[in-house]
Amino acid sequence: MSDNIYLPQLARVAYIKEEVVGERSIKTFRVEAVDGKLFDHECGQCAMLSIFGRGESMISIASSPLIKEYKQFSIMRVGKVSSAFHELEVGDVIGIRGPYGNNFPVDDWRGKNLVFIGGGCGLAPIWPVITTAVAQRNDFKNITVFYGGRSPRDIMYRTELEKLRGSADVHLSVDKAEEGWDAFCGFVPANVMDKAPNPGNAIAITCGPPIMIKFVIQNLREIGFKDEQIYTTIENKMKCGLGKCGRCNVGKDYVCVKGPVYSWAELKDLPAEY
């Protein structure tokens, strides 16, 4: 049976990095095709990853579409399948199918200022946009990145974030003050309010825990961002990724097909079933 939409392609784990350890641990994985090549994707799209015998999980692709050799995923350990991911070793083979969902309209944003606001594991879904914009630096005006974690140990992509400096303004934060941390202390929305990025010719892209997103959007609007200048992603439980299994809908649309990327102008009119 050709075009079996449920049959995953095989991918080998080529690289694993422990980003965050402890109760809410995050690991980054890079996977390569076992045979041939993997699919192309756009910024913001997701893939359904499987560990055979444990199940499938929808994970956003954290690498730039410009990188063809591998796909990167940063996965927080929360449940059955993500725990199985954390047990993987380099060389192990998993299943992958995709890409699923819509994407950030990056091409429409050329010539604009980009403001990224991430929290916790929410840096991963916007990371492809950040790295694409930095790789094509001349196409964009100012690039600003806000990112925060609970503590310095919860900051993911630490090295990569430091490397962004020079190409982007990077504003890190931790929730509570701690010895040795000299950047902002407080929640991410407060850091955004503190630095008050200029809404002129700008797009704000935010991802993180729902409560953070809520206050980030509230603060961005206060600073002067319009609803259509604010983009975020939403997630729901998914099984098929193809708009058939019927569980990720928000109103008439399935998030796996019409999402995960929404402007606040679109999202605010939808029922809050996510």
């Binding site: 079996n4 015998g53 449940g79 993500s82 099984k239 008439k252 079933e273």
Partner: protein, 363 residues
């Protein structure tokens, strides 16, 4: 093609469909049978007090009210194995697709509501991207319908949702009971071929047959049914009343079981799980099973967060899916008015009443 079939000939027609086309009959050898496209025929039969589709055994009686379960299981079985896997730790797994068997199935006695369920399921499984497990089964199924001379259930409401007790939508053949004989009409090319297989068992209809058919159909449509008062206004009203406290009130008795959705001819939600047969070396199967939006964990995230926490939100999802979301996506109600969810709910939740209450609610 329109024909008359004497009721006593129904088994003869079934036999013609299941037998070797060259007339070898059931005695044809296995090799011959494998190369021909014979039909496996299913007819409603009473088993343990419930009407179910059973393999035809020469005693077909199309006097059933409606089957307990809809015929959706033929194209969308409750359990579908996608593939099997075998994997030694650190090595690439071997995946083996499980492809549905190429076997033609003729389902007899399909009521018009269930017939109308078919194109709705087709939309779900072919829109955006084709689900080949569904389509490879679907292309081998023919639905031989039976018009409802009177509503088979006190909770029928097909007329409220754009259907009719004599609708042929989704069917390959439509039969109408005219007392001692059936009026049989081919709806599709497949239906014509099936009737042709019956050959001389069929007679041409007389003018009196045509007249009786018209009267039977007219009477069927005139027979009183349950009624949704404003089906056309439902999508907009449901959208407007999304946050109404009515939902929780109407769902207070809901026990969160799967009867309504499992019996529904158009509910298509499913789950996908890995069933492990052996841990090391790993072997097992990836399996699709029916799922149900009324189960509490249906939408629960791994974190424990549940966007549809209460029975009210879950009832709203079921009703809105049928009467708003599907309509917004495909321009038709997903519900076909079979009334199963109403009759079978252990606690009396009644989709007709629910839609009427919400659409009549001024909020």
């Amino acid at each position: 093609m329109e024909k008359i079939l004497d009721k006593k000939q129904i088994d003869g027609w079934v036999a013609a469909l299941t037998e070797h086309p060259q007339g070898v009959g059931r005695g044809c050898n296995a090799a011959e049978a494998a190369t021909t496209t014979l039909w496996e025929v299913h007819t409603p039969a009473l088993d343990e007090g419930i009407w179910t589709y059973q393999p035809a055994n020469g005693t077909a009686r199309l006097d059933h009210p409606n089957t307990k379960q809809s015929p959706k299981e033929f194209a969308f079985p409750q359990r579908e194995i996608f593939f099997s896997f075998e994997q030694i730790k650190g090595e690439a797994p071997r995946l083996t697709q499980i492809v549905p068997k190429e076997q033609r199935h003729a389902v007899f006695g399909v009521r018009p509501c269930d017939g109308r369920g078919v194109p709705r399921m087709d939309k779900v499984f072919t829109d955006h991207i084709e689900d080949k497990y569904y389509t490879s089964r679907r292309k081998n199924i023919a639905y031989v319908g039976l018009a409802c001379n009177k509503p088979p259930s006190p909770n029928c409401f097909c007329l409220s949702v754009g259907g009719s007790p004599v609708s042929s939508d989704g069917l390959d053949v439509q039969m109408t009971d005219l007392g001692d004989r059936y009026f049989v009409k081919a709806i599709t090319e497949t239906g014509k071929a099936m009737m042709a297989a019956g050959g001389k068992l069929f007679a041409d209809p007389s003018a009196a047959d045509q007249k009786l058919l018209k009267k039977t159909h007219d009477d069927a449509v005139a027979y009183p049914q349950r009624k949704i008062n404003d089906p056309d206004g439902a999508p907009a009203k449901l959208r407007a009343n999304f946050d109404s406290p009515l939902w929780q009130e109407m769902a207070q008795a809901c026990i969160g079981c799967g009867i309504c959705t499992f019996l529904c001819p158009t509910c298509h939600c499913f789950d996908i799980n890995d069933e492990v047969h052996n841990k090391a070396p790993l072997s097992g199967q990836r399996v699709r099973t029916w799922d149900n939006c009324q189960f509490p964990d249906f939408t629960m995230h791994s974190s424990g967060h549940n966007p549809r926490e209460g029975t009210g939100a879950r009832l709203r999802q079921r009703v809105n899916h049928k009467f708003q979301y599907f309509h917004e996506n495909f321009g038709m109600h997903q519900c076909t008015g079979c009334g199963r969810c109403v009759s079978e709910c252990p606690v009396g939740i009644d989709i007709v009443t629910v839609v009427n209450k919400v659409t009549e609610h001024v909020g």
